[in-house]
């Protein structure tokens, strides 16, 4: 418990640089993706165990809130993947290149790459959400 408090204090009050932000984003995006995977496995299992409930769950997925959640989920997947590659590359292949400029620069680059990958998907998903839930662009 004491450690949780220390960790949370550090996360919010320690003025770390890009590396700390990348660490936090990696954690959050990992937790987000993990949570989604768990829910997904459970809901698909419903097809077998409770088909009626499965249909109701699908209805829930079509709600606006879930639609917005899914858009962020896609960002989490992209960010977690690209940042994971960055860390693996440095740690396992190019340890010699770990220095302050490369660490800061690569953390920024990863964020840019993740955003560039995510934006077209986000636009497309948002469009589909507005189309199906609000009848826009008909």
């Amino acid at each position: 418990m004491a450690h949780l408090k220390t960790a949370l204090t550090g996360y919010v009050s320690y003025r770390g640089r890009e590396g700390q932000w990348a660490f936090l984003l990696h954690r959050i995006s990992g937790l987000g993706t993990g949570l989604f995977l768990t829910i997904h496995i459970v809901d698909i299992a419903l097809v077998y165990f409770a088909p009626q409930l499965f249909l109701e769950v699908l209805q829930l997925y079509r709600s606006t809130l879930f639609g917005i959640g899914e858009i962020f989920l896609v960002f989490c997947v992209f960010y977690h993947g690209v940042n994971g590659l960055r860390i693996a590359l440095f740690d396992l292949k190019a340890a010699q290149r770990w220095n302050i400029p490369t660490a800061r620069g690569s953390a920024r680059l990863v964020l840019i790459i993740a955003l560039v990958l995510w934006l077209p998907c986000a636009v497309w998903m948002l469009r589909s959400l507005l189309l199906h839930n609000f009848g826009l662009f008909q």
Binding site: T9, Y14, G16, R17, E18, G19, Q20, F23, F90, D91
Partner: protein, 237 residues
């Protein structure tokens, strides 16, 4: 010029919880934060507790959080700080004793755990004197000999905040220093300690350690070299 110092205060016999006290000071741009603390002690409160010794960035006693970042109070100048109010807090993740003084024992326990000494039971060379090594062999671990055990790195590490069992960057820097010493013979033993649950794999490359190190040691690099050594089963030169 004027500066306000906002200091984390806690007196274990009088306070139930810590608080912040502010002191306004007349300072020079070239004053060190350590000078400001001395000034507070001289002008306001002789009871203010903090550690210091050399005042020249050599002994490693005065690491603390200065405006939210770990640094040695004797190496940060007033002109390096952009804010009119300077906040000073103790290192995070070690038990608080009083004001800016924390209990360093858990930190040193981790240091001892990595066997911070040369291990070589082979007979001495024929001349009975030194175990020689080439300049290149000495260079291999030169950087990690520079550590002054100030704990700025370990207490800036998110993994250490969350798990006090984690050996932490400082202990890993020392482990690196002996692992890559050509005269050392304990690599298998060292790699076993370093690959344990509290070892090197808890490093999540948040990089706060390298940013905080007053000796400019490439800590995350050293840790990555240990990771690669574990994967290869021997010091990965």
């Amino acid at each position: 010029m004027k500066r306000t110092l906002r200091i984390f205060r806690f007196h274990p016999e009088q306070d139930t919880r810590p608080h912040y006290a502010t002191y306004s000071l007349e300072v020079q741009p070239t004053d060190r934060v350590l000078d400001l603390l001395e000034q507070v002690r001289a002008e306001y409160d002789p009871g203010l507790a903090y550690r210091r010794s050399c005042a020249h960035g050599v002994c490693g006693s005065d690491a603390m959080r200065i405006n939210g970042r770990n640094a040695l109070a004797c190496k940060v100048l007033v002109q390096d700080l952009s804010t009119p109010v300077v906040t000073i807090e103790p290192l995070l993740g070690l038990p608080l004793i009083k004001d800016l003084v924390v209990d360093m024992e858990p930190f040193f326990a981790h240091y001892r755990a990595v066997l911070p000494y040369l291990i070589n039971d082979e007979p001495l060379p024929a001349d009975g004197r030194e175990r020689l090594q080439t300049a290149a062999e000495r260079d291999r671990f030169d950087e990690t000999t520079r550590c002054i055990l100030c704990a700025a790195c370990t207490t800036s590490c998110p993994s250490f905040w969350a798990n006090g069992q984690y050996l932490g960057p400082a202990a890993l820097v020392t482990a690196h220093r002996f692992l890559f010493d050509s005269r050392d013979r304990a690599a298998p033993q060292r790699l076993q300690i370093l690959s344990a649950r509290s070892g090197v794999w808890l490093c999540r490359t948040a990089f706060n350690c390298t940013e905080a190190c007053p000796r400019e040691i490439h800590i995350t690099r050293a840790i990555a070299e240990i990771k690669q050594s574990i994967l290869k089963g021997r010091p990965a030169v």
